[in-house]
Amino acid sequence: MSEKSSFRDVNENPCHMCMPMGGILPVKGIEGGMVVIHGSQGCSTYMRRYISEHFSEPIDVGSSSLNEKGTVYGGEKNLKQALDNIRRVYNPQLIGILTTCLAETIGEDIDRITEEYLIERQIHDLAIVPVSTPGYGGTQAEGYFLALREIVAHLAEPAPKHNKINVFVPNMSPADIRELKRMLEVTGVEYTLCPDFSDTLDRPYLETYSKMAPGGTRIDDIKAMTGAVATIEIGVTVEEKYSPGQFLKEKFGVPLYTLPMPIGVKNCDALFEAVSKISGKKVPEAILSERGRLLDAMVDSHKYNFAGNSVIFGEPELVYAVSQLCMENGVYPKVIATGGPGGKLRELLQGVVAECPEPVEVLLESDFCEIREKSRLRNVNIAIGHSEGRYLTEHENIPLVRIGFPIHDRVGGHRLLSVGYTGTTLFLDRITNTLLERKLETYRTDMYNLYYKEENDLAAEEDEVKHDELFLS
């Protein structure tokens, strides 16, 4: 594993987004959850645009719409007005306040403002969770987990012991969340999954529209997380300070199992081992059959997959799991990249790529300009990551298998299923078929260019040979 040495002063075509963007998603996965971004109007609008396009869902996010006056004299009045108006129109059960670069730079004390607001308005039935997410403080991945941790920390209260398992999930598709829930249900364990935006950000078409999407993790269930038998946190790359599972462990002694996203055999096995260990329940036959089908698919496709030289990029948690999958199937990674520092990604990857036949470039704090350069140098022929990877396709003709967030140039990014044995099988097929498609598109021309010789050319070559022979004799 080689390391990037130089750090540049300019980012050319970003591979990550900002902290408050990530913070919106977990709030949207809480029942009755609504967001107010404390900053200037543009932040919320840009984030809404991206989330809306990825999920094909209306994404309502309030803004305190800070103007020049608010910036100079403090944004307290704006923030309180925003909370008033959001309550009037949306009647939420929980409001997450996410700060921005602007609010943090002018030194807004959102904890104090929130406390005061609740007292002034005499509110008792609404949770307001302030989260400090300056855009320069981290990527969307850190914003996501920090918001999740703050929500849990805010709501958690001592609760009687019960048999449910807490399950914290990273930014994965609604289809993935539904699959994870199905696997837990088939196994026969009770759980509280958080954040659950499998319904709120993937609504069925209904005859009547409601401003607040039905679904999401119930607030009472989050409150009772402190009494759970254990926590499973899907977030191996997440640093302790951002980890909700770590909070429950430290404050309430809930045992914590930190696991990777269940993509790939090893990572899926880890999930079921943990569930069995916690619950004492055996892995059901139905799930074992799914595992068998994944193994069958891996064997069926192994030769095609071995032709893949991959570049994997995106949020660290996804990048980690996809790297594992690629190693298992011989789609050996040449370049692995993430836009931020990546939490524990680098140290964890060392174990994963140790058996890679060629060195792997691991790029932290990277951008697409660098990813492109390294991919070209390493003869990468398949890219795996979010939509911005289309840049690699356009400029280096590297086909892109879309996964992660955002997917804005194709429909159905939020319907992509990639976790569990079945999800892995489907995802692996997408990778294999992309390699096959490219091969079938180009092999006739490639072979022709490589091996076919015109009769005339051959004759000319022979003449040359004869001439040389004559000359030599």
Partner: protein, 452 residues
């Protein structure tokens, strides 16, 4: 609790034609917590300048501002494509504390050496406005060092709304176009075409019309433009302006400083296209130009009018809701929908100006709801109450329309087909037909409605 107008402060921004006040409030700050659809000052500035194809667009700020504006707009280029990159100084906490000027200087150094651009725009973002980096000084030093133009764009997000960003962009443009000597100002018999961003090649379509008319186009601002072209902007004798929201201020300053007059045009819909072509011909051409213009209009109409008429038969009687960025587009859309037999029953903009709302009010039919800086709750309410069949809007509005079972027209900057001129009018009619008459509605609406 009443859903929409639970927010009293919003009353002034909404009116119903013929039943309430004729003037509504506009061009004001968004109200906190109203879920405005507007973006920020930086966004406005980037929209206007981004189509300049051979410029480096460097965002001095945290990564988000750059990430959310990377190659998301459909401006096409016939030359360089440097503009399709998004460069950022990616400011971190340390930079916020100690200032970002050094990092900015280093960023410009690297970009100047690597890409050899003639022009670098440096966009200011919210925090840069607060920490007080001296963009002017850094830009000036870099300009001198590399012999190129480095132009700061004062687009800190909090100094106003999207309109303030248009103004910031126009200020930057105005600096760029300053000629070395004034001998050639207004001297060539040609026009500048302002406020077309060459989305899906729209500026190319309109330029071809002018070629056929015998009218010389000097520079398009800013669609498919380049540094060298911008340097000769002041040579034109007339500015015609389509997107007035973004370019009105620039056109005004050019008139004031260089004495070059301007006129408003619009190439959306058959009526406005013909009217605009005729007015340009009359303003800069002779009898021959006017004759060629009439020939062009007749030729184009002969092909397109029957197609539009065909769609009209399928669409007449439908009702449209419109929520777009600027006023000129809204005004044209009322007329364009009438060409299809469709009445607009709700219409609003993010940044329309007072005079534009007056025109909208004049054009709109009785009972039409007119609103400025709307939010999802209001769009939902008025689309429903006014029984609109379709909505025209941008990316954020689309899923709302679909969830309400309404058809939708994408009239935004990332569109992939032209909506300007005659070909655009046909595309528009076809898009309306495609979305209004899709068979999918049969399955999702009770008692299913299709055109058959």
């Amino acid at each position: 609790m009443s859903q929409t107008l639970a927010i009293d402060e919003r009353q002034d921004f909404i009116t119903t034609k013929g039943r309430q006040k004729a003037h509504l409030k506009c061009d004001a700050d968004s109200i906190a917590g109203c879920v405005s659809q507007r973006a920020c000052v930086y966004c406005g500035a980037r929209v206007v300048l981004n189509p300049i194809t051979d410029a480096i667009h460097l965002v001095h700020g945290p990564i988000g501002c750059s990430a959310y504006t990377w190659d998301i707009r459909g401006s096409l280029t016939s030359g360089e494509d440097l503009f399709r990159n998004s460069f950022s100084t990616d400011l971190r906490e340390q930079d916020v504390i100690f200032g970002g000027e050094k990092k900015l200087t280093a960023a410009i150094d690297q970009l100047a050496v690597k890409y050899h651009p003639k022009l670098i725009f440096v966009y200011s973002t919210c925090i840069v406005g607060v920490i007080g980096d001296d963009l002017e000084a850094v830009a000036k030093a870099a300009s001198k060092k590399y012999g190129i133009e480095v132009v700061p764009v004062q687009s800190s997000g909090f100094i106003g709304n999207k309109s303030a960003g248009y103004k910031a962009a126009c200020d930057a443009l105005f600096r760029l176009i300053e000629p070395e000597n004034r001998a050639n100002v207004g001297k060539t018999k040609s026009i500048n075409y302002l406020g077309d961003f060459n989305l899906a090649g729209e500026a190319w379509i309109i330029k071809e019309y002018f070629r056929q008319m015998g009218v010389k186009v000097n520079v398009v601002l800013t669609g498919d433009s380049s540094y060298d072209q911008l340097k000769k902007v002041t040579q034109a004798s007339l500015n015609i302006m389509q997107c007035a929201g973004s370019m009105n201020y620039f056109a005004g300053r050019m008139q004031e400083t260089y004495g070059i007059p301007y006129m408003q045009v619009s190439f959306l819909g058959l009526e406005d296209t013909a009217d605009s072509l005729r007015r340009v011909a009359a303003a800069v051409g002779d009898a021959e130009t006017i004759r060629r213009t009439e020939e062009l209009i007749a030729r184009e109409l002969e092909v397109t009018a029957p197609i539009i008429e065909g769609y009209k038969k399928k669409l007449a009687g439908k009702k449209a809701a419109v929520y777009v960025g600027g006023g000129f587009k809204a005004i044209s859309l009322i007329k364009q929908f009438r060409e299809l037999g469709i009445e607009v029953v709700m219409i609003g903009t993010q940044t329309g100006r007072k005079e534009e709302y007056d025109t909208i009010n004049d054009l709109a039919s009785e009972g039409t709801v007119i609103l400025d800086d709307a939010n999802p709750a209001e769009l939902e309410k008025f689309m429903t109450v006014q029984q609109a069949d379709l909505l025209v809007g941008g990316v954020k509005e689309r899923p709302l329309a679909y969830k309400l079972g309404k058809a939708f027209i994408d009239h935004n900057h990332d569109r992939k087909h032209p909506l300007s001129g005659y070909v655009g009018a046909v595309n528009f009619a076809k898009e309306v037909y495609t979305t209004v008459c899709s068979p999918v509605w049969k399955y999702v609406r009770p008692g299913g409605v299709t055109h058959e």
